[in-house]
Amino acid sequence: MSEFFLLVGRDVRLAARQGSANTMVVVFFVLTVTLFPLGVGPESAVLARIAAGVIWVAALLASMLSLDRLFQADFEDGSLDLLALSNLPLELTVLAKTAAHWITTGVPLIIVSPLLALILNMDIAGWLTLIVAMLLGTPALSLIGGIGAALTVSIRRGGVLLSLLVLPLYIPVLIFGVGAVEAAIGGLTQRPHLLILAALFLVALVLAPLASAAALRLNLE
């Protein structure tokens, strides 16, 4: 099990040293969201109405930005061969790399999301739910995205194919993520939405590493 944390640590350290990719994700997230007030006009009622949806869609797209390198860097320099030959089962290798991806891209998105909620004049009743929903939703995004990343690992410029594969699978997270925030703002209970998000996360936690590892094994042959 120590290998698992070793790999998470290495990937987080690599991301911290290389920096640019993760900063890019956050900057993309902030920029996309700030474009909306410019595009739809500064009426605060309109912005408040669309805030939850805009933040979630931008988070979806942002988390996909860095996905194509999730396994590709290790595939191209031969590290993935060695990881596949190590003590750690490939499923756990996938899980470790996905966890590192979430720590380096998902967590920064969650941290800046209240700022964006403020920019879009979201009702303050929705803020806490937004953060909780993102805490449950973004790891699911990383896990589901990992399947696409594993399938396209040997394809150069596989980013477009990756988004075509992954975006449809993101839809449930989007629907219930937005639903939770809207329910909180509307004074309804957000609990069922959050429970479904949690269920999506747990299902992805179990199934996505299996699928990703199978896809990686195909690509390593």
Partner: protein
């Protein structure tokens, strides 16, 4: 200790191996056996399947025919044990540009459950002075040596080496030769694919020819 006792008797062998890649037969009916302390050099023209045979030997590829055995037991019966007993050096160096030389070697050593001996491994391949340098500044030969340092840092009885001496200078090739000699003296097994001369005295040679369909 278990690794030591395992080393004593184990013979690594392939029986009538066949390999198909992309609906093309790469090789067929390839058999070999390497005793403890022995070495096998794979030779053959480009595309004759040297790298494929090595990937097959470490389990990344599945044989289309035949089987691989470790002390007469099929390695597929316990794929995990096979993975832990081998060290694979592919033609890619698996060196992370953003990490230092020492961090690169230490990661793989720790990943194989062996944290001691990193400094010694670096010294064996004359990387001591480069230990704190980011790997992106290394030359091709130096990167190769970082990859080879894994062999010294994380001991395993079976070494599968794909062109280990490529882009190494004379002194480094000698270090590699010494490393391989020590490994064999401890009863280790080496299977290496190469075009260049490797310092492997008394090694058996397996000539691979491009298979006719």
């Amino acid at each position: 200790m278990s690794a030591g006792t395992e080393r004593a008797a184990a013979t690594f062998a392939g029986e009538e191996l066949g390999c198909i890649r992309g609906e093309r037969v790469v090789f067929r009916d390839v058999s070999f056996a390497v005793e403890p302390g022995g070495a096998l050099i794979l030779r053959g023209p480009n595309g004759s399947g040297k790298s494929s045979l090595l990937r097959l030997a470490c389990g990344l590829l599945k044989p289309a025919a035949g089987r691989l055995t470790w002390s007469d037991a099929d390695v597929r019966n316990d794929a995990h044990a096979h993975r832990t007993r081998l060290n694979y050096v592919g033609h890619l160096d698996a060196v992370k540009a953003a990490l230092t030389v020492a961090e690169n070697v230490a990661f793989w050593a720790a990943f194989a459950g062996n944290t001691a001996g990193v400094a010694a491994a670096l010294e064996r391949l004359d990387l001591g002075a480069l230990a704190d340098i980011p790997a992106r500044l290394l030359s091709a030969g130096q990167r190769r040596r970082v990859n080879l340092a894994r062999l010294a840092a994380a001991p395993a009885p079976l070494w599968l080496l794909d062109e280990p001496a490529v882009s190494l200078d004379e002194a480094s090739a000698a270090s590699l030769g010494q490393l391989m000699a020590d490994h064999r003296a401890r009863g280790g097994i080496i299977v290496a694919a190469t075009h260049a001369e490797l310092r492997l005295p008394d090694a058996a040679v397996l000539e691979l020819t491009a298979a006719t369909p």
